[in-house]
């Protein structure tokens, strides 16, 4: 790989990182609107409000960057970057199409993506603690508790796929993928997706930012661009989670004419999953803190373990 090629790949990943979260955000505006019998943004950019998020970005950039007087300034300022950058790093490892259509193929890809995604939560923790605000601190605590509960089922579900494929590399997993893995790994897929939603603090798992109780959790004191970065991190997280679920459980670029249109299949599946994320947000109320913990420890972890057993049994039976 030449230097130019590496730069081109990084530029493409960066472009995807900047564009797709905005697309998801705009889709969320419109889909949420229509699901609530509204039209969503309609003015900005003239055509169905396509430029709404651009306008939002400009607005955020104009706002004053406030750091509370009692805050720990350095940590407070650093937190949004910690929250955002891991998702960008993860995108590098996600294969988009067959062959070499990936930012960088990583040997222990599954562990890489899960490990780096887990780091992003540190941003919320740092921000919440450094804000010197009791609501922020509560939000951080809830974030941490939620992460610890849901990291395990997510890992177990990911491990099940790695076990099925006999490799930890994301490209390797896709290389092994057969259509009947869909029903075989279905439970693991549901567990992975649900746990991922919880890790992103998306509704119905948005207890850490429950606005009726703790305003906006760890992000309460943030304004302007730093706040926008946290929001961007959330949408980048949706992109990463959906792309990862696609790759691990839905066969990524596999599909009819996948030799030429593999990347389209990946995008399509990711898009459908992103729609599901939005759909769930509109449909379900927020889970209470104890319900959250109960779902993880008594629901998802046993399911993930059962999936592991099933994977192992089938794998041995085939061999």
């Amino acid at each position: 790989m030449t230097v130019v090629e590496v730069l081109v790949r990084l530029a493409l990943v960066l472009a995807a990182f900047l564009v797709f979260p905005l697309v998801i955000g705009q889709t969320e505006h419109k889909v949420m609107g229509h699901m609530q019998a509204r039209v969503g943004p309609i003015y900005a950019g003239a055509f169905h409000g396509w430029a709404q998020l651009v306008a939002d970005g400009v607005k955020f950039a104009q706002k004053e960057d406030v750091v509370p007087a009692g805050a720990d300034r350095r940590v407070f300022r650093l937190a949004p970057a910690i929250a955002l950058i891991p998702y960008m790093v993860v995108l590098i490892a996600i294969p988009v199409g067959s062959g070499d259509l990936v930012g960088r193929s990583i040997d222990a890809g599954v562990f890489f993506v899960l490990a780096v995604m887990g780091v992003g939560v540190l941003g919320s923790l740092m921000g919440g603690w450094a804000s010197a605000n009791k609501f922020s601190l509560l939000g951080s605590l809830r974030t941490a508790a939620q992460l610890m509960a849901y990291e395990l089922p997510m890992l177990l579900a990911g491990a099940s796929v790695a076990m099925a494929a006999g490799t930890l590399s994301l490209t390797g997993i896709l290389g092994q993928w057969e259509w009947w893995w869909l029903p075989w790994q279905a439970v693991g897929g549901v567990v992975f997706f649900t746990a991922g939603l919880a890790e992103l603090q998306r509704p119905p798992f948005d207890m850490p930012v429950a606005d009726s109780e703790i305003i906006f959790g760890a992000y309460t004191e943030y304004t302007g661009l730093r706040f926008a970065l946290f929001l961007l991190a959330e949408y980048a997280g949706i992109l990463v989670l959906c792309a990862l679920t696609t790759v691990l459980f839905l066969g990524g670029w596999h599909g009819p004419w996948s030799d030429d249109l593999g990347w389209l299949w990946t995008l399509l599946k990711t898009g459908v999953l992103a729609f599901v994320v939005i759909w769930l947000r509109v449909s379900y109320p927020r889970l209470r803190e104890d319900q959250l913990q109960k779902l993880a420890w008594t629901g998802l972890i046993p399911l993930a373990l059962a999936q592991l057993v099933l994977t192992g049994v089938v794998r041995v039976a085939i061999a």
Binding site: H34, A37, R38, I42, W279, V282, S283
Partner: protein, 195 residues
């Protein structure tokens, strides 16, 4: 309630998905004006010609937002020997819509049908003083007052109409008696009489 576990969850998803496929109920207000129901309380219009400066509206107004100034004018007697008459002339009629609470008591209380509800609502300003509207503006709003809604089927005829019809019939009969070979009275059949 549901036997199958997760049926409620699926139902929730179905509801939102169904709503998404339906037309949204959002009104594109600045481009598309809303269809307001009859008797919408947008603004109070003044039919100046009917006003006799009786001051009832100003006195009944709970928050005293109606300002009326007037003077008396002498109308000279038409016949010699008769007394001159005086007449009230309206100088100022203003409603402060910053104070008005849209209770509509003034409209109800006006004995001469000089005040009306208009559905016009786009008179917001950024200056609270500008919300006091004088009689020329109030008179202009009179043009936006819709025709009274049609009466219910089989409702009693309004008293004014019944009275006018009775007078017309009487006049017609008198005319007929004066000219026995005259036209037939053309008073219409009383409404509701044949139902």
């Amino acid at each position: 309630m549901s036997r199958i576990p997760g049926a409620g969850l699926a139902k929730g998803l179905a509801v939102t998905l169904k709503t998404m496929t339906k037309r949204s109920v959002t009104q594109g207000y600045p481009e598309v004006l809303p269809e307001l129901p009859p008797r919408s309380r947008g603004v109070i219009a003044l039919f100046e010609e009917n006003c006799t400066v009786c001051m009832l509206c100003a006195r009944e107004c709970p928050d005293w937002c109606i300002y009326i100034d007037s003077h008396k004018e002498v109308v000279p007697a038409k016949e010699p020997g008769a007394r001159d008459r005086t007449r009230n002339v309206l100088d100022r009629f203003a409603i402060d819509f910053a104070l008005c609470m849209y209770c509509g008591i003034c409209v109800e209380v006006c004995p001469f049908d000089a005040l009306f509800w208009s559905p016009e609502f786009e008179y917001a300003t950024d200056d609270i003083q500008a919300l006091t509207h004088e009689k020329d503006t109030l008179r202009e709003w009179m043009w936006t007052v819709p025709a009274p809604p049609p009466l219910d089927e089989r409702a009693e005829e309004p008293k004014e109409l019944a009275m006018a019809r009775r007078n017309a019939a009487k006049l017609a009969k008198e005319l007929e008696q004066e000219q026995p070979q005259g036209r037939e009275p053309n008073g219409p059949a009383s409404p509701g009489g044949d139902a």
